[in-house]
Amino acid sequence: MRALLIRDLRLAMRAGGGFGLGLAFFLIVVVLVPFAVGPDTSALAVIAPGILWLGALLSCLLSLDRILALDWEDGSLDLLATSPLPLEAVMGVKAVVHWLTTGVPLVLAAPVLGILLNLPSQGIIWIMLSLGLGTPALSIIGVFGAALTVGFKRGGLLLSLLVMPLYVPTLIFGAEVARRGSQGMAVETPFVMLAGITAGSLALMPIACAAVVRVNLR
């Protein structure tokens, strides 16, 4: 498991793309928003938490099809499926790698981009906390989407279509934590719900991912 983790991390780092592209996409979304809604700082401050969450979600989505596609193409997914490691664990590791290469950079970049959107300073800690808590759920749900569409000829768009509705609860609670936090309101309830969604999907989604991959490898 550790070997797989290190291998995937190394591949993600060296192949380029994954890491940098997600961040660049996040940056571009955040930069484009003021052009679209106007430079009024008070308006931007209101929508900043939502925009940051949406940007993070979209750049997560963008990097999903790379999770399994490369392993599928060179056949290492078949080897992983027949290895002594349970396929559920493989899927879990894939999600962890995706989170380390996409989620963590997004969390770290969010405060900087928050300044661009005039995010109130008390909101910075909450956007980091909510993204840090929510992106693992985004990653594992994304692995499910990637597993559903692995090997499809035009899987990219379908992948987004399938994954987006699944992201709704995470987005609602995550953005709610960030929004309430930036306005200095109580955040306990959405925070606990977000943590619950993350914990629940981390526990159960690998099973669904593995089941789907088995079907697609048949």
């Binding site: 899987g155 279509l161 509705p165 609602i172 709610e176 719900m193 789907v212």
Partner: protein, 256 residues
């Protein structure tokens, strides 16, 4: 030969699983379908005429209240169609009856259309009543999310060539999707309270609907349920025949 088969089926205790056999299913649906069509048409037409022409206007809503006879039944079926897909997906995953998977496939577009009808009639109703076509009310929003789930489910069916793999993938999507759809329902409830404190565009008319409106409404609901059943039986039959044709074509190719 037919008699022999009938004897066999009478010998065994009747069980619902017998209709997992496509031939038996088709025979049953051939017998049921005319009845279902006629009942559905009678109930819907009767309910609508009763509702539209023989009930008084609401004292506050005027005639717009009559949209209820389309809105509520279609919303009811939009949810129950997904529930039926969930059950038949489970049956496919556990017992691997092809008819069950095909029934789920057949129900999806019906559910999608029901969701659309509910959303559209809701918008037409909302315009005069709330002064807006659309509000991010929890119920409206969760129906929109349900619509997205239907679209994704149907798109996945169409994207996979191998039919068994498609059935497997879509059933797992249906199972996972159901969990997340329920989660979204409650998340949306929470989110809207967070947005509009105390604003209650409660759509729950069921509680204070007078009997005058309720009886034609029940009739329309029964009609929509029958219509849904008829459509699902019909479309499942079509899917079974489509698959038989595909099998025949494949066999012919092998012979040549």
């Amino acid at each position: 030969m037919l008699e022999q088969k009938q004897k066999e089926s009478t010998k065994k205790p009747m069980s619902i699983w017998e209709y997992a056999n496509p031939t038996k299913f088709l025979r049953l649906s051939a017998r049921l379908l005319p009845v279902l069509w006629i009942c559905a048409a009678t109930f819907i037409v009767g309910g609508l005429i009763w509702g539209f022409f023989f009930t008084p206007d609401d004292y506050r809503q005027g005639s717009t209240v009559k949209i209820i006879y389309l809105h509520v039944p279609s919303a009811l079926m939009a949810i129950n169609a997904w529930f039926m897909m969930l059950v038949s997906s489970l049956v496919w995953v556990v017992r691997r009856h092809h008819v069950s998977a095909l029934a789920a496939k057949a129900a999806a577009p019906v559910g999608l259309v029901m969701t659309l009808i509910a959303l559209l009639t809701g918008a037409i109703w909302g315009q005069p009543m709330w002064g807006t076509w659309w509000a991010w009310d929890p119920r409206l929003t969760s129906f929109l999310v349900l619509f997205l789930f239907y679209v994704g489910y149907i798109a996945l069916w169409q994207a996979v060539d191998d039919s068994d793999a498609a059935a497997d993938l879509t059933s797992i999507l249906c199972l996972v999707g159901s969990v997340f759809a329920v989660l979204s329902r409650y998340a949306v409830n929470f989110w809207n309270q967070g947005l509009h404190q105390g604003a209650s565009l409660s759509l729950d008319k069921e509680k204070n609907v007078a009997d005058v409106f309720a009886y034609p409404l029940y009739m329309c609901m029964a009609g929509f349920i029958l219509l849904f059943l008829a459509l699902v039986f019909y479309r499942t039959g079509t899917e079974i025949r489509l698959r038989r044709i595909a099998a025949l074509i494949a066999r012919e190719r092998r012979v040549i």
